[in-house]
Amino acid sequence: MKKNGVKMIKINSKNVDVYYGKKQALFNINLDIEENQVTALIGPSGCGKSTFLRCLNRMNDVIDICRVKGQIIINDFDINDKSCDVVRLREKIGMVFQKPNPFPKTIYENISYGPTIHGMAQSKNEMDEIVETSLKKAALWEEVKDRLHEPGTGLSGGQQQRLCIARAISVKPEVILMDEPCSALDPIATAQIEELIDELKKDHTIIIVTHSMAQAARVSQNTGFFHLGELIEHGSTDKIFKNPENKKTQDYITGRFG
């Protein structure tokens, strides 16, 4: 999105290095993410695109041996700084995982969990409203409105993934990270999610890791290409797919390796 013709940068990463123990997984990543746009991260397996995604909400903290260096600036604030509160950060930056992972609780509880722990609803009515808007935004409301109190794990794969998206947006995050959200889904469910992503970018900045180049081309405005832990090329999706500067990028998107 452009304001007065200037690109609004939501996330600004500077010289990000990631190590798993002694092994370096990411080398000097400098990538800007535009606000209210979909940014796709592509690259062959093991290239570090998921690792980078997980840097953005500090999910790498969970892994004992993982170390992150460099700056990732969101809203003028370096999230790798010691003063950064991870709980606050993750409230602002939601995440959707590769495999749908609803809590083994009811659909309602799945959505209400985030708002509950962050104290976003004062009354039952307010909570009902949050659940309803979240499900509507995730285009799931019509399918589940009569069985909100049935287990979320009873839904189909595509519905579960949309439930996870609804759960992520229930706390009104500014950014949504998606780690190959469609890799476990069939083409119809994938199409639904892609449509949803397009809808969600009005209110959220979206970063999606995907293995499908077609998907990256369909849903994203910007694309970054990772290879062996390095960001080889990034720019508008149009340019990356039609007129890449780097030979490796061209080889990858034309299917010569990967």
Partner: protein, 422 residues
């Protein structure tokens, strides 16, 4: 070439068939042993649930009982029942000499006086009248009636004399011997007399021990497991702790008994022979079992659930308490019950801390001296009287029943509350 392949295929099928056969015979063997074991216990033990009574006419002679006219309830309680009790037994054979009267007295339990007293207290109008009273037969006659006693032994090798047998046979012919359900086996504490021995004391002792054990072991073990699994950093020190917990699970139970003896009794001066000390000792034993079960079920919670909660902005503590721990509870609980079932069957440490003492009172709290079911089995199995043989098996049946119910409960919890995730 083709023929070769055919042969190879046949060989593989045969190998599989053989393997199935081995497996089936192994299961058959296991079932056979189990059946023999259970059959042996049941065939010896079932008769302990029956008790033999002699029906003896008792004359409630006020004079012999040293009672005044119109006695009050207190008077009845204080009255002397021994003489009428002796007299009613002696009256079974009017021609008996003094020795034979003594033998007659020994045909019933030493509770006979109390049984006669109870009869009168229930119905004070019996004074001056004669009534047939049920008296507990001595354990030897009990065994005679049940057909477990070798009557054809020479008299000097028997505890039952020919004279007693003669009178007993007369009573049987008159229909004055009856077998009824042995309620006292469940309501009486232990006794040196087999016919009066019951499991009430050891049963309560076991229950109290298990409760103490549960109350100590469960919270400690669950907290330790949660901390180790979810919060503790993975380093050499925690590895060392983990190895030691596994070692602790393999320590022979008698060592824990010595620990209880050396620390709880000697240093802390806790009361000896009590379920409190027994329970604490057992909890040391159960601790590693529960920790291991709890950690295993925490590990079984898929990491995706933790990630989902963390990514929603839940703190580590919230993630653990809201998601991981509830999901691990079925496994933890069934592990706990299995650990408790083990503790319930434990004998050696309890013997060391003195729960092997002869206790003829029923404990009302964990601070009263008590035995426990497995120790009771041990005590009775050591006793020489024939009457205790069936008691041992009966006690084993009760203990096994207890254990089966607990394990069943563990299974039910596991099946009912285990959640499935996609």
């Amino acid at each position: 070439m083709n023929k070769n392949k055919e042969q190879l295929l046949n060989k593989r099928y045969k190998a599989e068939k053989r393997f199935r056969l081995y497996g089936q015979s192994a299961i058959f063997m296991a079932l056979l042993f189990l059946t023999i074991f259970i059959f042996k216990i049941f065939s010896t033990g079932y008769s302990a649930f029956q008790k033999t009574w002699l029906i003896v006419p008792v004359t409630f002679d006020a004079e012999l009982m040293m009672l005044e006219q119109n006695p009050s309830k207190e008077d009845l309680k204080d009255a002397d029942y021994y003489d009428i009790a002796l007299k009613s037994m002696a009256d079974l054979d009017p021609n008996a000499n003094e020795d034979q009267e003594n033998e007659l007295k020994r045909m019933v339990s030493y509770f006979f006086e109390r049984e006669i007293k109870r009869e009168l207290l229930n119905d004070p109008s019996l004074i001056g009248k004669t009534k047939d009273v049920y008296l507990t037969a001595s354990d030897d006659l009990d065994q005679v009636f049940k057909g477990n006693y070798p009557r054809d032994l020479p008299e000097d090798q028997r505890r039952v004399t020919d004279y007693q047998l003669k009178i007993f046979d007369q009573l049987v012919e008159l229909g004055k011997v009856e077998s009824k359900f042995n309620l006292s086996f469940f309501t009486y504490p232990d006794s040196r007399e087999a016919e009066l021995a019951g499991i009430a004391s050891s049963f309560m002792g076991s229950i109290f021990s298990i409760l103490v054990c549960l109350m100590i072991a469960f919270p400690v073990a669950v907290l330790a497991a949660i901390y180790l699994e979810e919060f503790a950093p993975k380093n050499r020190f925690t590895d060392f702790i983990e190895v030691n917990i596994n070692n602790l699970a393999a320590v022979p139970s008698i060592v824990f008994g010595l620990l209880g003896l050396g620390i709880l009794l000697a240093v802390f001066q806790l009361p000896r022979s009590t379920p409190l000390v027994g329970g604490i000792t057992l909890s040391l034993m159960t601790l590693p079992t529960i920790i291991i079960a709890c950690r295993a079920s925490l590990k079984a919670v898929p990491p995706s659930i933790r990630e989902a909660a963390l990514a929603m902005g839940a703190s580590k503590m919230q993630t653990t308490m809201h998601h991981t721990v509830p999901l691990s509870m079925p496994g933890t609980l069934s592990g706990t019950i299995i650990g408790l079932a083990q503790a319930l069957g434990e004998t050696a440490p309890l013997i060391l801390i003195g729960m092997v003492a002869f206790v003829n009172t029923i404990p009302g709290s964990p601070l009263d001296p008590a035995a426990s079911l497995p120790v009771q089995i041990y005590i009775w199995a050591e006793s020489a009287e024939r009457g205790f043989v069936e008691k041992v098996s009966a006690c084993i049946m009760v203990l096994l029943g207890f254990l089966i119910i607990m394990n069943l409960f563990a299974q039910i919890i596991r099946h009912k509350f285990e959640k499935k995730w996609s």
